[in-house]
């Protein structure tokens, strides 16, 4: 009689144990899923931060052709001017930790005061280190010839 009672109690403990195991597994599964989705949201937030910078940079009046109102039209002389000044000065307007690069498709000459206007690559605030960057196609207005070239704008954040 006593051992039958003990067996019943053991049954209850084992049943409870399995119920607990199922609950814990369920919690682990949901938590893992939540961590995964919060990581993806973090990466989404990083993406949005970079896209925000990309939009700001590409439509900044500091770099766009004057009086151009339909979208963005980067001007080569303004890009050359920005690439010639210290990065710290540009960071005063665009914030910290970013970099950008504009490339005219098919042109490999870095733009400086000396190579302008026969050049097609402009780099801003480029440093070494890990980064996440995105790029978009842009129009580049050649001030000396009045031509419009196709190019790629890359904007990223370090860290």
């Amino acid at each position: 009689m006593k051992s039958k009672g003990q067996a019943h109690i053991m049954e209850y403990f084992i049943l409870s144990f399995f119920v607990m195991v199922v609950i814990v597994l369920l919690i682990i599964f949901i938590t893992t899923y939540q961590i995964g989705s919060s990581r993806s949201e973090q990466s989404d937030a990083q993406f949005q931060k970079t896209m925000f910078m990309l939009k700001t940079f590409s439509s900044s009046p500091l770099l766009n052709k004057l009086a151009y109102k339909e979208g963005s039209m980067l001007e080569d002389s303004k890009l050359t001017a920005l690439s010639s000044i210290p990065c710290s000065e540009a960071e005063g307007a665009f914030g910290q930790g970013w970099f950008a690069e504009v490339k005219v498709i098919g042109n490999t000459v870095e733009c400086t005061r000396d190579t302008y206007p026969n050049c097609g690559i402009w780099s801003f605030c480029r440093k070494s280190g890990n980064f996440k960057a995105y790029d978009v196609p842009v129009n580049i207005y050649r001030k000396t010839t009045g031509r419009v070239d196709a190019g790629m704008l890359t904007v990223g954040y370090y860290g």
Binding site: G5, H8, I9, Y12, S16, V19, I23, I27, I30, Q34, S38, E41, D44, A45, Q48, M51, F52, M53, K55, T56, S58, S59, S60, P61, L62, L66, K69, G71, S72, S77, K78, T80, A81, L82, S84, I85, E89, A90, G92, A93, F94, G95, R113, Y116
Partner: protein
């Protein structure tokens, strides 16, 4: 007679059930909180995306922030502090007043050779101007400020404008006007004045919800912010006339708008950002001039380029000065106007 085993079953069942229920309840409430936080984070990220889109396109947009009073603790530019995290609006200069429905507008301050873009994100607002005299300076100051405020013609979040009061009737002259109507009214105001119908006076009462600005050529004590006009579109702005020592100097309509909407904090933010960008714009323009001024065939333009560059150099120097210094900022206002004129000269002569 209940056996020991049955007593055990009852006690064990109760304890275990309570344990499981508490566990599931705690976990699900945490899970729901996380879901709410995600939804709130998405609202704020969506707001930043809208600001970015408006900044890039220049097309105003409406944005709904559900339960904004609970979600947004405070906007301390450039960070929006929410109940879950802070969202930075950097690098876009954003003057933001929280509300459940926001109109997002890209505004600009145009110097001819450079435009300063900034975002005004406001709920439905009425701007009410109370001039205390009939002078041309007063009207042009009001006109400049109204022009720098957003038009809500193509969006649902409306901006309204009002003007008052008239001593003969003690009533508002106009109210609930749209921006375009207000500007038109001001332009045709001279006809109204000629008939001697308008005797400006301080309104007896205002709606507390309105953003009211009293405009006067001399200092007077009022319960509302006072624009005390000086010269060249500059002046002093008293947010609290009982503390005249805490006045702010204004050199652009943006200074007035930022201070009226967010006090000293917004005024400081807008000035810091505007001067930093003005300094950078001046550096870039000087570099750009350097690329072109010595090109063959540009001899006629050389003196004009030199003059423009000298103005930009002064502008850059003044942009690094204290924006609370009326003397320096007065000089800056003059140099900004000078730079506009010099650039216009370059364009007229075909050098730009």
């Amino acid at each position: 007679m209940i056996s020991v085993l049955e007593i055990f079953k009852i006690i064990f069942g109760i304890v275990f059930s309570v344990f499981v229920i508490v566990l599931i309840f705690r976990f699900s409430s945490n899970y729901m909180e996380m879901g709410d936080s995600n939804a709130q984070a998405n609202i704020m990220l969506g707001f930043r995306k809208t600001v970015g889109d408006v900044f890039a396109s220049g097309i105003p947009a409406d944005y709904a922030i559900k339960d904004s009073k609970n979600l947004i603790i405070k906007y301390m530019p450039p960070q929006i502090h929410t109940s879950i995290a802070a969202v930075s609006m950097e690098p876009v200069t954003t003057i933001f007043v929280p509300g459940d429905r926001i109109g997002v507008h890209r505004m600009e301050y145009d110097l001819g050779w450079w435009k300063y873009y900034y975002i005004l994100a406001l709920p439905e607002t009425t701007f009410f101007f109370n001039p205390l005299n009939n002078s041309e300076e007063t009207w042009s100051e009001i006109y400049r400020v109204v022009k720098a405020l957003p038009s809500s013609e193509n969006i649902e979040t409306k901006m309204y404008f009002g003007l008052g009061c008239n001593a003969t009737s003690d009533q508002w002259v106009v109210n609930n006007l749209k921006k375009e109507e207000m500007l038109r009214f001001e332009k045709t105001m001279s006809v109204y004045l000629e008939k001697d119908n308008f005797m400006p006076t301080l309104c007896g009462s205002f709606n507390k919800e309105w953003k009211t600005i009293v405009v006067s050529p001399k200092f007077v004590e009022t319960e509302h912010p006072l624009m005390f006009t000086l010269v060249n579109g500059t002046g002093m702005l008293y947010l609290n006339t009982s503390q005249p020592e805490k006045a702010h100097f204004y050199k652009t309509p943006m200074d007035v708008i930022s201070a009226i909407l967010g006090g000293k904090e917004f005024y400081n933010y807008e000035n810091r950002d505007f001067l930093a960008q003005l300094s950078l714009a001046s550096s870039l323009k000087m570099e750009e001039i350097g690329l072109f001024m010595h090109r063959p065939g540009g001899a006629d333009c050389l003196p004009l380029f030199e003059e423009f560059r000298t103005t930009l150099e002064s502008l850059k120097g003044l942009a690094s000065q204290d924006y609370n210094d009326p003397m320096k900022m007065g000089e800056l206002a003059i140099k900004m106007e000078e730079s506009r004129q010099r650039f216009l000269d370059l364009q007229v002569r075909g050098c730009e």
